[in-house]
C-alpha cells in the first residue's frame, strides 16, 4: 500500500476530486495548507504593495493499494496541471499496515 500526498491549487480541487471519483478512488482526506515556495504573490494592504510568500494550497492524503497507484497519480496530475509555476507536488510513501476501526479488519482490503 502507498500513501499519496498531493499539494494542489485550491482552485483545482473540485476537478481533482471528480477525476479521482472517475478513477474509482473515493476515500481521502484533505485540508488547507499554507506554504513557502518559488511562487510570489503580490499583496496590497492600505496602498502598500509587497510580495507575499504566503502561498495557499490544498493538501490531499490518499492511501491506495499498489495496483491503483499509477492511475491515482495520473488522475491528480492531469486534473490539477495548469503549466504555470506553482502547480504543486505529489509525494509517495510506503504504508506498512492498514486497519478498519469498525471491525478490526486489517490488510489492503480494509482500504475499501
Amino acid at each position: 500500500m502507498k500513501k499519496i500526498e498531493a499539494i494542489i491549487r485550491r482552485s483545482k480541487f473540485e476537478e481533482v476530486k471528480e477525476a479521482l471519483h472517475d478513477a474509482d478512488i473515493q476515500w481521502f482526506s484533505y485540508w488547507d495548507i499554507t506554504g513557502a515556495g518559488k511562487e510570489r504573490e503580490d499583496m496590497v494592504v492600505r496602498g502598500q504593495v509587497f510580495e507575499s510568500s504566503y502561498i495557499q494550497r490544498r493538501m490531499l492524503s490518499i492511501v491506495v493499494r499498489d495496483q491503483n497507484l499509477e492511475k491515482t497519480i495520473k488522475a491528480i496530475m492531469d486534473a490539477s496541471r495548469t503549466g504555470e509555476l506553482g502547480d504543486g507536488k505529489i509525494f509517495v510513501s510506503d504504508i506498512e499496515e492498514t486497519y478498519r476501526i469498525r471491525n478490526g479488519q486489517k490488510g489492503a482490503d480494509s482500504l475499501y
Binding site: M43, V44, V45, R46, G47, Q48, F50, S52, Y54
Partner: protein
C-alpha cells in the same frame, strides 16, 4: 342646558388661558427639554458603541490572529477604567473651573465624584439651544464617551508589541495629563484655546490630533515590531475590519450630530455633513485603490470612510455640503499618501495607522474648518472661504499647540512608564503573541 354650555365654554377658556399666556411669554430660563435629552441619550450610547465594538473590531481585524484579543481587551478595559476616571476626577478637570492663574489651563476638583450635581440640574453647556437643554448628568456621560475613545485610538500605534500592565498605567496617566487638559483648553468656557476662538465641534483637536500625535510618539519610541518588513502585515480578519468601520460610521452620527447637544437644525446639519464626508472619503479611497492597483480593497474603503469621519469631526457643526464633499475628498487623498508612501519612507511602524489616519485626518479637518466654516450653518462663525482668514490662523495655531503638548507630554509619560513599569513587550512575548502571553487566552481554537 344653556347654562351648562356656557359653563363649559367659560371653564375651557379659563383653563387655556395660562397655557396661552405661557406661549406668549417664551421660556427665558434654561430647562430640561425632553426631545433634546432623548436624542443625546441615544447619541451617548452611539459614541459608546464606537469604542466597543466599533474600534475594537476595526483594529482587531487588522492585527494578526495571535494578537486580536489583546486589542479587544485594550478597548474594553479603557471603557471600564476611563469611565470611572471621568466621573471621579476627569470631568471636573476638563469642564470644571479652577481659580487663579491655572483657570484657562485646567479645571478644578469642585465636581470630583460629580459632587453637587443633581439629577435634575441643567447642563451648563449648550450650542444653539440656549434654554432647551439637556441634564447636566447627561452632558457628563456624553463627554465621558469621548474621553474613553480618545486613548483607545492610540492603541493602533503600538499594537502587537506592548505589555498590558504598562499600557493600563500609561493610558490612565495619559487621560489625566493629556486628554483632560486639552479638553479643557478647547471645550471649557474657561479654556484658553476656546477663548481665542478655536472651532472644534466634536473633537478634531481634542480627540483625533491628540491621539494621533501621541500615537506617532509611541510608535517611534517603542520601535518596530519584530516582524515588520517595511510594509503592513496582512490583517487576519477583514470582515471584522469592515464591521468595525461600519459600526464606527454608525456611531459617529452620535459623535458629531450629538455634539449639537440638541435635536435641532444644527444637529441635522452635522449629521448630513458627517455622512457625506464619510461617503466621499470612502469612494475616493476606493477610486485611488483602483487607480493604483486595478482593484478596490475592503481595507481601503473602510479606512477611507474612517478618515472622512475623522476629518469632518471638528467641522461638523460649521460647514455645509460643499465643505463636506471637499473635506472628504481631500482627507482621503492625503491619508492614502501618508499611509502608503510617507510611512514607508520614514520607516516608523504605526501598526494600524493611528497617526496616518486619525492624526493627519484630524489636522486636515481642523485646518479646513478654518476654511469652510460658513455662517449659513452657524451665523457667528465663518472661515477663510467666507472672508475670515483670521479663523484659519486660529485653527493653525490650535493644531500646533495640540501637536506640541500632546507630543511632548506623551513622550514624558512614555519615559516615566517605561522606566517604572515597562512598556515594550519582549521578543518572546511578541513572537508567541500577546493574547497568550498577556491574557492566557486564544481567540480561535480548532478544538471544540
Amino acid at each position: 342646558m344653556k347654562k351648562g354650555i356656557i359653563a363649559t365654554i367659560v371653564l375651557t377658556a379659563v383653563s387655556i388661558l395660562p397655557v396661552a399666556a405661557q406661549e406668549v411669554v417664551a421660556k427665558k430660563v434654561p430647562y430640561i427639554d425632553f426631545g433634546n435629552t432623548a436624542w443625546i441619550i441615544v447619541a451617548t450610547a452611539l459614541v459608546m458603541f464606537m469604542t466597543i465594538p466599533g474600534l475594537a473590531l476595526f483594529y482587531g481585524g487588522l492585527v494578526r490572529r495571535k494578537n486580536v484579543l489583546n486589542i479587544l481587551m485594550q478597548c474594553f478595559i479603557i471603557m471600564a477604567l476611563i469611565s470611572i476616571e471621568w466621573v471621579v476626577i476627569g470631568y471636573s478637570m476638563s469642564f470644571g473651573s479652577s481659580h487663579g492663574f491655572l483657570a484657562p489651563f485646567i479645571g478644578g476638583f469642585d465636581w470630583a465624584f460629580l459632587r453637587g450635581i443633581g439629577i435634575n440640574d441643567v447642563s451648563p453647556y449648550f450650542i444653539s439651544q440656549e434654554n432647551a437643554r439637556i441634564p447636566h448628568i447627561l452632558f457628563i456621560l456624553f463627554q465621558c464617551m469621548f474621553a474613553v475613545i480618545t486613548p483607545a485610538l492610540i492603541i493602533g500605534a503600538f499594537a502587537e508589541r506592548i505589555k498590558f500592565k504598562g499600557f493600563v498605567v500609561f493610558t490612565l496617566l495619559w487621560a489625566l495629563f493629556v486628554y483632560n487638559p486639552i479638553a479643557h483648553w478647547v471645550w471649557s468656557s474657561d479654556g484658553w484655546l476656546f477663548k481665542l476662538g478655536t472651532l472644534d465641534f466634536a473633537g478634531g483637536t481634542v480627540v483625533h490630533i491628540n491621539a494621533g500625535i501621541a500615537a506617532l510618539v509611541m510608535a517611534v519610541m517603542l520601535g518596530k515590531r519584530k516582524d515588520y518588513r517595511g510594509h503592513a502585515i496582512p490583517p487576519h480578519n477583514i470582515p471584522f475590519v469592515v464591521m468595525g468601520a461600519a459600526f464606527l460610521w454608525f456611531g459617529w452620527y452620535g459623535f458629531n450630530a450629538g455634539s449639537a447637544l440638541a435635536a435641532d437644525g444644527l444637529s441635522v446639519s452635522a449629521f448630513l455633513v458627517t455622512h457625506i464626508a464619510a461617503a466621499t472619503a470612502a469612494l475616493t479611497w476606493a477610486i485611488i485603490d483602483w487607480i493604483i492597483e486595478r482593484k478596490s480593497t475592503l481595507v481601503g474603503i473602510s479606512t477611507g470612510a474612517v478618515a472622512g469621519l475623522v476629518a469632518i469631526t471638528p467641522a461638523a457643526g460649521f460647514v455645509d455640503l460643499t465643505g463636506a464633499l471637499v473635506i472628504g475628498a481631500v482627507v482621503s487623498i492625503v491619508c492614502f499618501f501618508m499611509v502608503a508612501v510617507v510611512k514607508q519612507k520614514f520607516g516608523y511602524d504605526d501598526s494600524l495607522d493611528a497617526f496616518g489616519v486619525h492624526g493627519i485626518g484630524g489636522v486636515i479637518g481642523a485646518i479646513l474648518t478654518g476654511v469652510f466654516a460658513t455662517p449659513a450653518v452657524q451665523a457667528a462663525y465663518s472661515g477663510a472661504l467666507y472672508g475670515n482668514i483670521h479663523q484659519l490662523a486660529i485653527q493653525l495655531m490650535a493644531v500646533s499647540v495640540t501637536i506640541v503638548y500632546s507630543g511632548g507630554m506623551t513622550f514624558v509619560l512614555y519615559k516615566v512608564v517605561e522606566k517604572f513599569v515597562g512598556l515594550r513587550a519582549d521578543k518572546q512575548e511578541e513572537s508567541v503573541g500577546l493574547d497568550e502571553t498577556m491574557h492566557n487566552e486564544i481567540a480561535y481554537t480548532t478544538i471544540d
